[in-house]
Structure formats: C-alpha cells, structure tokens
Amino acid sequence: MNQATPNSPIVPPQAVNQKRRSILATDRRAGYGLAAPGIIVIALVTIFPILYSVWMSFNNINLTENGFQMTLNNFHNYSIIFHSSVFWNSAWFTFYYSVVTVAAELLLGLAIAIAIQGVKYLKNISVVIMLIPWALITTVSAEMWSYIYNGVYGVLNYLLQLAHIIHSPIAILSSTGPAVIAMMVADIWKTTPFVVIILVAGLQMIPNELYEAAYIDGAGGWKAFWHVTLPLLRGSLALAGLFRILQAFGVFDLPFVLTNGGPGNSTQSLAILGYRVMFNNTDFGAGSGIAVVSVVIVLIVSLIFLSAFRSIVTDGEGE
C-alpha cells in the first residue's frame, strides 16, 4: 500500500527485516504499557483476593481491634461446611433455583422472541421497556415485589381472590413453597426481557433464504424450527444461558430483601449463607470456605462452556 513495504526494491531486505523487528519491539512495549493499568487493577482486586480467600479458608480468623489474626487450621473450616446440613440445603436451593429460573427464562424468552419476531410496530418503545428491568436496581424490584406479595394487603392476593383462585389472602412470603415460587417469578420477570432481546437479535441473523429453502423442501412450521432456527440460535442461547446460570448462582439481592433467606432457611442461597457466616457470625474462615466453593463451581461451569465454545473467544485472533 505504501513505498516502504518489504517488497520495495530500493531498500535491502536485511535492513527492512531489522527495522521491522525494532518496530515490533517498540509496538510490543507500548502494548504492555497501555494494557498495564487495567490488567494490574484486575489482578490486584480480583485475582489476588480470590487466591487470598483460598488461603483464608484454611485458617481460623479472629478480628482484632484494627486488623485480624490468622491461625492455620487446615481443613477444619471445610469439615464444618461439608458436615453442615444448612450448607447442603443452601447448595441445593441455589442449584435448583438457578436451573429452574434459567430454564424458564430461556424457554419463555425463546417462545416470546419467536412470536414477536417480524412485528413491525412499537420497535423503539418495546426495546426501552424490555431493557428497563435489566437495568433496574434489584433491591428496588425486590421491594416492589414484596409489596405486591404482602400477605395482608398485597395486590396479588386481591387479584387471586378476584379470580376465585384463593378464598382469603395467603401469607405468600412466609410459607416455604409459595415463597420459593414468588422469588422465582420475581427473577423471571426481571431477566426474561434480557433473554428476549438477545434471542431476537440472534433470530435476525438467520438469513431468510434458509427458511425459503426449507419451505421449498417441504419443511414448514415445526420442522423449520427444529432444523433451521434452533441450530442457528444455539450460540446465542448457550451464551445467554451460561451468563444467566452463573448470575443466578450468585443470587443475593433478591432473597436478602424479599425473604431474608426464610421462611426457615428455605431461600437461603450460598451467597446469603456466606454473608451470614462472615458478617453475622464473624467467622471469616468458614465464610471464605463457602466463597471458595462458589468460585470452584463457577470455574468448572465456565471452563466446560469455554472449551465447548472456544471459537467465540478466539474469534478475530487469527491474524
């Protein structure tokens, strides 16, 4: 493109190579310099604390006046954690809460995205309305739902009564089954629109010709969905699903405000349990242990996913 390309006959090739190498070295140094501030902050504030919390989880930790004291107690914290039924209840709740809400969000999101695909009206306003729950402060939505679910004067009880589903108001948030369902509904309400936006964008990328070809081959409706839509949407679905699963796995704000982990411990997620062990029992050793267990699960899930979808990550790094 320019006179100074290596093919230029005026400059001898060795000199060009040398020059090139020195430019490369300068560029590389500049690259490290530019990347350093961000990478250092990330390393110091995320990677280092995570490693340090692994170390903390093998210690007994006492808070002192203006610091703390650590004494190594090996696997004692983990032994307490894994022998505690409270931990296993939390782990089970976190697991089925994540699986059920994310499955519901993906299925509902897919159904809605396919139904509204091709609707030409209300485009701008519907994008805004669907984005607002995504950007909403979770504690705000939790307060909102707790007022709706209130067992004495909640509007949901009133509507259910109007519809003759129940006879008198029920204490939604203080009975186990309804409390769990209520929390899931609040979560599904907040995140399904996000899934819909991603899937609508994914659907738009599927070329029309594929449907036309499928139609000519005699595949309409369901068949086209199974053989064209679903395979081509797999990437967006998997990505949305992974991030939702990991996010649901760290669920904290919603139970903190809505049920405070109750009734009993029935909505106590791992994050809520970890928080309580650390800040209510001031047991930072065991609390770190619970944090480490969460990190290990997150790592396993994301590594499995990343090895399956490596192309998404390395896309554009082929040069």
Binding site: G31, M56, L131, V295
Partner: protein, 276 residues
C-alpha cells in the same frame, strides 16, 4: 420469514401482553408512591389512585437520607465509569492492535473473571479495607467496581478496535506517528460508539451493585441507593411509600440512559451477551 397476516397479529398481541406484564409492577410502585399513607395498607387495595400526595417524596428526600444515598451513588458510579473507560480503551487497543504476547489467555481470563460472583472477593477485600481504614469510603467501592467492570469493558473496546482497519494503524506509523499518538488521535475518536456501550454497562452495574456496597459501606451516610433502599425500615411496619418514592427517583437516571443509549446497550448485549 414469510408470515401470514394471522401470525403477524398474533405476534403483536404477544408483544403488547409481554410489555404490559413488564410494566405492571412499575405501575404499582409509582402509583403507591403517590398514595397517602393510610391507603397503603388498605385491603382490598385501590387499583387506581384516588388521592395524590407528594408526602412520601418529601419524607424520602427531606426527612430521610435518600438524597445522600443518591449523591453517594452518583459519585461512585461516575468515578468508576470514567476510570473504567480510560483503562479499558487503552487495554482494548493493546489487545486488538498491538503485538503483545498471551492475548488469548488474557481474553479467556477476562471472560472468566467477569463471571465471578461478588462473594468470591468480599472476605479478603473487607479485611484489607478494614485494616487500612477504608470501610465506609468512596474508594472502598470505586476500586472493586473498577476491577469488576474492566473485563467486560476491555472486551467491548477490543471488539470495536478490531473493526478499524489495520491499514490505518500502519499508515499512521509510516507517517511518523508514535504508537500513543496513533491511539489517541486516530483510534480513540473512531471508537466512541464502543465507549458509549462500555460506559452505560459500567454505570448501570455500579448504580445497581448491592453485595459489596452492603458489606463495605453500611454506615448510613455512606450508603449507595441499593443499600439505602434495602436497609430502610420504619419503626413498626415497612414504609413502602417512602421506599417507593426514593426508588422512583433512583431509577430515573437508568430509565433516561436506557432511552438515550438503547442502541448501544443492545449492541453490547448481543456482542457476547455478557451480564444480565
């Protein structure tokens, strides 16, 4: 797709129904924030307000500390956003356009880090902040928010830098521009859309974060808005009127951002679908 008329009508009906379901809880919150105290606990509740009052807004911002919570959130979220943008743009440029080693490892690590739940760093950071006396300070939130939002922002910026032709970089070099000049004069102006996306995502994340804000800044004068709302309680019953008045004001900035930057948000969401 070839769609029949009935199919299109059905789609429109589903869309409207979906939008209404999304909006109903908001409607209820906004209406409640304007109702007089006495009718908040009324059963059956009145679905449409009969008397309007601004009492709860007066309570929230004059008698209670919602003004302070919002000020804290503004300071924390704006500072975080500025720092994240500066660092992410530089790092994104380096990863996209400069010959540094270990790019793929870096990108994968960034992706994994951005998925860690807050609880994974809370205990060591709390200990550290306590030791240096930074609990209940702005930097107690600005620093971890910067670190947690950088990975996604770097990804976004890197994707935008990749879209700018490499030839532009080489041309600038041949004209004698230094790496930093090329970056600052040519690449930064061309990636403003990426900046918008990264800025909105960072601001929203910092505005809504709860776990670290709760554990690091729990004293009343340093609470951010999510913590202020969650810990706000009355003497005898939950003061929903005041909470909702504060909430309506607290989500206004986010609604405005969403309306103005919807295009960039959608592009960020679909560009890897990171974060929910």
């Amino acid at each position: 797709m070839v769609q029949s008329r009935a199919r299109k009508v059905f789609g429109l009906v589903v869309l409207i129904f979906f939008l209404v379901i999304i909006l109903l809880p908001f409607y209820w919150m906004v209406v409640t924030s304007f109702k007089p105290d006495l009718s908040l606990g009324a059963y059956p509740p009145s679905l449409f307000p009969h008397h309007f009052t601004l009492q709860h807004y007066h309570d929230a911002f004059v008698n209670d500390n919602f003004g302070i919570y919002i000020r804290n959130s503004v300071v924390v979220a704006c500072t975080t956003t500025v720092i994240v943008l500066a660092f992410a743009s530089m790092a994104g440029f380096a990863i996209a356009r400069l010959p540094i080693r270990g790019k793929v490892t870096m990108l994968i690590s960034l992706l994994i880090i951005s998925m860690f739940p807050a609880i994974s760093v809370v205990s060591p950071l709390y200990m550290l902040l306590r030791q240096v006396g930074w609990l209940n300070s702005y930097q107690a939130l600005i620093i971890p928010y910067t670190a947690f939002n950088l990975p996604f922002a770097i990804w976004i910026m890197r994707n935008y830098f990749l879209q700018i032709p490499k030839a532009l970089y080489e041309a600038a070099k041949i004209d004698g521009a230094s790496v930093f000049q090329t970056y600052a004069r040519i690449f930064v102006p061309l990636t403003t859309p990426g900046m918008f996306t990264a800025a909105v995502f960072t601001f929203v994340a910092a505005w809504t974060e709860f776990f670290m804000a709760l554990t690091f800044n729990s004293s009343d004068s340093m609470r951010t808005i999510p913590v202020g709302i969650a810990l706000f309680s009355g003497q005898f019953s939950v003061p929903y009127g005041t909470i909702f008045a504060g909430s309506v004001v607290a989500i206004l900035p986010i609604v405005i951002l969403t309306i103005v930057f919807r295009k960039w948000i959608v592009s960020g969401l679909t560009q890897g679908a990171v974060k929910g």
